[in-house]
């Protein structure tokens, strides 16, 4: 019976990790529903970006207040994982504070002391975050897309953080042996008196409960990620690695169109020649994107990485002037639709059964798409290198090249370019008239 807690611990741990792995697999499968593009250029530049943007949080500090608070929570999160390592070892081997037996007392005390201070800082940061979202009501958290689940999601994670930090401190405060060491209990020494007068057994009981809840809480948190915008904790790393390196103004070249144009421009090409196998295979079934499967996997990774922070939307000129477009909503819609498609595949034994819906129209409207000025403010603002503009552009391509559904003014403009080589109805022969007008 002495091994019961250890066995129980291992079962809980395996269940927690097992479920997480299942969901990660699903995530990877969903992302791979996107078109395959190869991103293997500029490896060192990409690594630098990942290190700077995801690990170093360089883009977070553009907004100093949230940047600073976020950094605290982030550092707290990373460092406290060292403590989790101790918990896991203790849990499996039935030891108690294994760290103390491998590290000198002073080093161990220093480590735990640091964690305790961080835990308090995290509590403060979380409290301010909560105020910003629920009391001060910052504009960027009030958009139409930020009601219901996205709003609750943001709060739930704050509550989980509070509970985890409090459990950690309680666990230390009720550990008599640890308090007697009087090293590293920087914060918990002030909590210990709260438990004074309790019997040793009760005290030990509380310590055990806090310990168990702490690890179960962390496993729950891990598994909550998949259903939450907090997936960015993990995906920010690959996402910043695969983020756009080209100048922001450069929109990708559509190769299929290039081949067609070459054929049309080349007088020696035989338009009736049978297409070569290679070119044939390269022809996609449609231009642009109307659903998530038409987007590429980087765009889908983007959607899963979005933290719904709304920095993109608050910089967006269309959004600032009251138009329906919100780049954050573009990302959230893409993720929602992708999740829906994923569930459809799960329910239909691995194949997607058309459900009469698609990203375009059912989630993102034409009005939103046409309001974009392609200014790249959203791309610049995103702290995790997401490119909402690329999705907007792919959907515009679909609207224009597959459906001829451009606003009529744009059709006029395009007609002018085709006929006169200018977006206005002027004659190309008059292009130099300015030089001799006074």
């Amino acid at each position: 019976m002495a091994y019961l807690p250890q066995v129980l611990f291992i079962v809980v741990l395996l269940l927690g990790i097992g479920y997480f792995v299942t969901n990660v697999k699903k995530l990877a499968r969903n992302i791979k529903l996107g078109k395959n593009i190869v991103v293997d250029d500029h490896k060192s530049q990409r690594l630098t970006n990942m290190f700077k943007i995801a690990f170093g949080q360089t883009k977070m500090v553009v907004r100093p207040v949230s940047g600073f608070l976020h950094a605290i929570v982030y550092v707290g999160f990373i460092i406290i994982n060292i403590e989790v390592l101790e918990i896991i070892i203790d849990g499996i081997f039935g030891t108690h504070r294994i760290g103390l037996s491998v590290l000198p007392e002073s080093v161990y005390g220093f480590l735990i002391g640091t964690f305790e201070v961080l835990a308090v800082l995290v509590l403060v940061a979380v409290f301010i975050f909560w105020l910003r979202r629920n009391v001060i009501k910052l504009k960027r958290f009030l958009s139409a897309e930020m009601t219901g689940w996205p709003k609750n999601d943001a709060n739930i994670i704050l509550y989980i953080e509070v509970v985890l930090m409090c459990l950690f401190l309680t666990m230390n405060a009720t550990d008599t042996a640890f308090q007697n060491l009087n090293s590293g209990n920087i914060v918990s020494q002030f909590l210990a008196p709260l438990f004074e007068g309790l019997s040793e057994n009760t005290l030990h009981g509380i310590e055990r409960v806090a310990w168990w809840l702490h690890i179960v809480g962390i496993l729950a948190f891990l598994n909550y990620l998949y259903f939450s915008k907090h997936l960015h904790i993990l995906l920010a790393f690959p996402n910043t690695y695969y983020g756009k390196l080209r100048p922001k103004g450069q929109l990708p070249n559509n190769e299929t169109v290039t081949n067609e144009v070459k054929l049309m421009m080349d007088p020696s090409a035989d338009p009736f020649a049978a297409p070569t196998g290679e070119a044939d295979a390269a022809v996609p079934d449609k231009f642009g994107a109307s659903d998530v499967m038409d987007l590429n996997w980087v765009q889908l990774l983007n959607a899963y990485t979005c933290t719904e922070c709304g920095r993109c939307t608050s910089e967006c000129p269309a959004n600032q002037t009251g138009k329906k477009l919100s780049p954050r909503k573009i990302m959230m819609d893409t993720r929602d639709r992708l999740e829906e498609v994923g569930k459809n595949i799960d329910a239909n034994k691995g194949t997607f059964v058309p459900d009469g819906k698609q990203l375009l129209g059912d989630y993102i409207t034409h009005e939103e798409l046409w309001a974009c000025t392609t200014c790249n403010a959203c791309v610049q603002a995103c702290p995790v290198s997401i490119d909402p503009l690329s999705i907007i552009m792919d959907m515009r391509q679909y609207l224009v090249m597959e459906q001829s559904a451009a606003p009529s003014d744009l059709n006029t403009m395009m007609g002018n370019i085709e006929n006169n080589g200018a977006p206005w109805p002027f004659n190309q022969q008059d292009r130099l008239n300015w030089s001799n007008e006074s």
Binding site: V261, M265, C375, M393, M401, P423
Partner: protein, 263 residues
């Protein structure tokens, strides 16, 4: 502008067996829009004065295809690109300067994939280079002490990270450069990009150019400087909408320099 300007074409130089230092890509706005034509002429005036050997394509120039591509018509864009590249490569063009950030971005970033690789400069970069090389000199004259704010064109700034060249030129005019609350990488769009220039805006609370003009008015400038013919139009309309046209002028950097007293 009463001095006559010299505008050689590629075709005429080619016939004489000459190759200019740089091709001036005028762009559709610069060729046809009445306001933008003034910018074109101001820039040519500077080129003439600095004795830069340049040429334009004239009637052989066609839209780069930027608005078509941004509207989603990749096909039309590539047709335009293919035609233009054929002309440019035919004249063995190496270096291009343009007053339009949209042409600049497209020629610089999107033509190389389609077989057209050139060294492309925005006119503010080109002017800055002329200044650094001592080929032009200028003192502020009438702009001395004037409050000038610079509106970053999205396709010059954020899209291509050119922020300093235009600012250096403004400072060189002895003017006081004042920054709007959204500037440089956080600059606010004028509302014209992405083919918006050619269509009605979607429904909202206000137009983007009005929002941007309000930001500019906040810093109480004498002049709003721009580096893009489309921004120029949008800001001019904004200033008119706010009935400030008697106190605030909207001018392109090229116009500022061409009009500096002792240029």
């Amino acid at each position: 502008m009463n001095t006559t300007i010299q505008v050689p074409t590629m075709a005429s130089l080619f016939a004489e067996g000459k190759q200019p230092e740089v091709l001036f890509w005028v762009g559709c706005a610069g060729s046809f829009d009445d306001r933008a034509k003034k910018i074109t002429k101001a820039f040519v005036k500077i080129l003439n004065k600095a004795q830069v050997s340049f040429a334009v394509l004239g009637t052989e120039e066609s839209c780069t295809g930027d608005p078509a591509k941004r509207a989603g018509n990749e096909f039309l864009f590539q047709m335009q690109a293919a035609t233009n590249i054929e002309v440019l490569n035919g004249y063995e063009v190496k270096k291009i300067v343009t007053t339009c950030p949209h042409c600049f971005n497209t020629l610089k970033n999107e033509y190389p994939n389609l077989g057209g690789s050139y060294e492309v400069m925005h006119h503010t970069q080109f002017l800055k280079a002329l200044l650094d090389e001592g080929r032009i000199t200028m003192e502020g004259g009438q702009f001395k002490g004037k409050r000038i704010t610079f509106h970053d064109p999205c396709y010059l700034g954020r899209a291509n990270d050119v922020y300093e060249a235009p600012r250096d030129l403004i400072r060189k005019l002895d003017a006081e450069l004042v920054e709007m609350k959204s500037c440089k990488s956080r600059g606010l769009c004028c509302g014209a990009g992405g083919a918006q220039m050619f269509k009605e805006a979607e429904k909202g609370d206000k137009e983007v150019n009005i929002e941007r003009t309000e930001q500019a008015i906040e810093v109480q400038p004498d002049i709003i400087a721009a580096g893009c013919p489309f921004c120029n139009t949008m800001m001019t309309d904004g200033v008119k909408g706010k009935e400030k046209e008697s106190t605030i002028a909207v001018m392109d950097i090229a116009e500022l320099i061409a009009n500096a007293d002792d240029f």
